[in-house]
Point group: C2
Chain length 527, copies 2
């Protein structure tokens, strides 16, 4: 059994706090020393990916101390406990099993006599087989026409991850003849969201997936009613168009309102549920079950790397530890995620949820307040777009923001033009390489307004191409980074009590049971 | 003439720094005192909007000191100099005239004998008349068919603002019978961006606007070539499909490659160019010139408020000063922008550019380093979506993030359903009201994991509905807030030298003129 302690009780952390501002990356990354670092500070991942941290503010001494910290804190042992079915989600008394939905990494995990791996695989098969029948025209609308569109109705984790993955592979699937159906997403309780999506599709040829683990999420039930209303007005039987992705005990799982139901359990949290039927049904319908399976395989291969105690063979743990050095020793409050890939346009929004909802905590896993900073603010947009936007502050602002780049050698659609001697893809890659060095090394200038201090740390994940496997591996890398950081900060990364109060107060507003400032704001908003 | 000094030279700022943690908003917002604050700390804006700052960490004493600071720093006088044509963009030696494109606020502004107001109005008319001819079928493709789609090719300010405004009004225009043409946007040099947009449209019935002030932006010229290639392959004459929005002296303004050219000048920066032809052409084509004119009117009405020396009648200046109190006295590094409106989904990305690129500076307007924090990191997503995502950290994380809410009483499409006694729009509004109080007041609990400290400051802009006028007013409010903050920090908010180094290095990479770490990264990326 691993021992769970706060970060500030560790001898290795004490040692690490003495290493503030140890590495000057302007110097470290200049000249041939810089080239040596690029070669040395590089960890192969899976699916053709590499994690390069040459431009981070680390050296061998810091890395050795981070390695000591990993050992002292038993990070790999904690991961082992997790995948073997320990109750890691202490607040809610639950196991944490999104890895198991991808592959069996350790012992069988049983719950009330059910082998959980079997459960996840059976639901994946059910989704794949259902999707195949839809694609083959064996399941059709009442008029016998093929379904052409699938609409996911869900919010938070039921929306952001699956949407980011769909957008990441939409063009790849089109280029590789595996694109089956267009997917759309309804999330916001703002009625204009559902209305606009419904206006943009042929409802008679659409399937709708209602996604809610509890079956009680207000936004999702409201949007379900919104869609049912539209189906009814179109003279359609909603039970022939609607699917449910929910837990076996939820209200949605009862009755015959749905054409088919797919099941999840309490051991995969919303923000990790791209690996459950929350991601599985919509992505199998959009691209086919085999493509969805390849995403899970890429993720599982990345998960396997997390078993390595050797920091240089465990990129997620290494990334996590460097992030903690930046957050707790260097004192940087933010991290920017900057994928040089238009397909990853919504991936930063997914990571924003995954990271900030997991580790934005002030109490440890035993419910005691911690005395150090935990999860940072995460934000980002794709490059090169961001270069023409907020990069100004990243280069010349008064605060330092650590950067996480992602880049690929090849585009997805392989349609390109040569302008001024280079393709667009080459220009894209040239820009990300240039940015890393510009941020790290800066540039002196007589005019202080044109001077770049440099010293702005970054890492990059470099891939061959964004494919189902590399996408799954990137998804898992960040999930596992967040998990390891949760272990390091000794917080429970798998609950989200901080979202409850707003729900309670909103219910009071709708029941007109408020006074004071809440009533005053409600009046201003005409509720 | 106003005197331009650094913030830390002001007596009022010295006084303000002594007011750290003066207001406990948990107490201030509880009970009837909270309701009083909601009534009292409310400033009417224009177009039916109100700026409410009851839940900010201010009281009358702080507000009086902020008012002293505004006077001592001559903020309104500085704005007056700006709209009367002073060289406010010191780094580039240029006037700053985006306000003038909306309305003449002061004296005539002449440049080489040209009245700049006349110039902006003439270009707006040209765009409106051109759009009308397209809508009427007087300007068609070679086959005599009407154009159905307009594609903007631009990056940064040529993309984010116009795209955010288009998305903000797309549904409103459809509901109000003023929707004329679908707009699409190509921005990223990633070839998959242009290829995917081209795959989604009928190029034979599309107009393309190439937007680049200098006519030398690499991404935009590359994407222009990409589009011309596609037109040629489709057997079409690109000069009958392409428009230019550029400066009169740029390479794009020469020759006969374009069906029509629209002109901008050097006095409206990219991130402020929704008010120049950069926004004017695409939005006039999408919605009609009269709708675009209504956006400008709403913005101009908001600009007029900025002439008020009385802080309680100048919401943008008030917002700016509270932001500086939060940034420099309270020490908060970030601000989240949280619109409770799906239509504003890309508005935070636009504000992220506008704010971070304007005020992410370490030197003052005279090129001397400053000794205080300047522009914060800006990020955000629409509510209620964000509530199911990163709000966990905002409620219970270790850092405090000031919040900027936006909400509307009415939806745009007016399609709604009643579930459990309330409409979706009521639920949306109930949630934003509830969040303000949850963040400000928190909630005690025996279980520390379910405890909310509160004390998390926010303000809200409340509107009747998101219309062209209120959208313009919100756009101008934030632009003017940023302008006033630039005055307060004494930085030049209108240049962006921090984006240059990356461009220079990327060019070297493409020419294979690199060594050291830059060459090593280029090799890893197969350039």
């Amino acid at each position: 059994m691993a021992t769970w302690n706060n970060l500030d009780t560790l001898a290795s952390y004490e040692k690490l706090t003495g290493m503030k501002d140890r590495v000057n990356i302007v110097e470290a990354m200049s000249g041939e020393n810089g080239a040596d670092r690029v070669a040395k500070y590089n960890v192969p991942m899976v699916a053709g990916l590499n994690f390069n941290y040459a431009a981070k503010e680390v050296d061998d001494t810091i890395l050795n101390t981070l390695s000591e910290l990993a050992d002292e804190h038993q990070l790999v042992e904690k991961f082992e406990e997790l995948y073997n079915g320990a109750v890691i989600n202490t607040g809610e008394g639950r196991m944490v099993l999104h890895h198991l939905a991808r592959r069996q990494l350790g012992n069988p995990v049983l719950d009330n006599g059910v082998d959980k791996r079997d459960f996840y695989v059976s639901q994946q098969k059910k989704a794949a087989e259902f999707a195949e029948k839809v694609h083959a025209g064996e399941i059709t609308n009442a008029a016998g026409e093929k379904f052409t569109t699938v609409v996911q109705i869900g919010i938070g984790g039921s929306d952001l991850g699956p949407r980011a993955l769909y957008m990441a592979l939409e063009n790849w699937a089109k280029a590789n003849d595996t694109f089956k159906m267009e997917a759309k997403f309804i999330s916001n309780v703002d009625p204009d969201d559902a209305a606009a999506v419904l206006n943009s599709i042929d409802v008679s040829r659409s399937l709708f997936i209602v996604v809610s683990k509890s079956g009680t999420t207000l936004e999702t039930l409201t949007n379900e009613a919104f869609v049912k209303d539209a189906l009814k007005k179109a003279g359609l039987d909603s039970s022939k168009h609607m699917l449910a992705a929910t837990s076996e005990t939820s209200p949605l799982a009862q009755g015959d309102d749905y054409l088919e139901s797919f099941f999840m359990d309490n051991y995969i949290g919303g923000r990790y549920s791209s690996s459950s039927v929350v991601g599985g049904v919509v992505l199998s319908l959009a691209f086919g079950g085999d493509i969805y399976g390849r995403i899970l395989e890429g993720a599982a291969d990345a998960d396997e790397l997390c078993k390595n105690k050797d920091l240089t063979k465990n990129p997620a743990m290494l990334d996590a530890l460097i992030g903690v050095y930046e957050r707790n020793v260097q004192g940087y409050p933010n991290t920017a995620v900057l994928p040089y890939s238009q397909a990853l346009i919504r991936f930063p929004a997914h990571l924003q949820q995954c990271d900030m909802e997991s580790n934005g905590k002030t109490v440890n896993r035993d419910g005691k307040p911690v005395n150090y900073a935990t999860g940072p603010v995460i934000f980002g947009e794709p490059g090169t777009n961001g270069q023409h936007s907020f990069y100004q502050l990243l280069h010349q602002g008064t605060d330092i923001v650590p950067l996480q780049f992602v880049g690929f050698k090849k585009s997805q659609l392989a349609t390109d033009v040569v302008i001024e001697g280079s393709t667009s893809q080459q220009k894209l890659c040239a820009n990300v390489a240039a940015q890393i060095i510009a941020f790290a090394c800066g540039k002196d200038d007589e005019n202080p307004n044109k001077k770049f201090e440099g010293g702005r740390p970054s890492s990059i994940i470099i891939g061959d191409q964004l494919t189902p496997e590399s996408l799954g591996a990137i998804l898992a890398h960040f999930e596992n980074k967040i998990m390891f950081q949760g272990f390091i900060w000794n917080v429970n990364s798998f609950d989200q009590e901080g979202v409850q109060l707003g729900k309670v107060l909103a219910t009071k507003v709708l029941a007109h049971e408020t006074d004071g400032a809440l009533k005053a704001f409600s009046d201003l908003l005409d509720i």
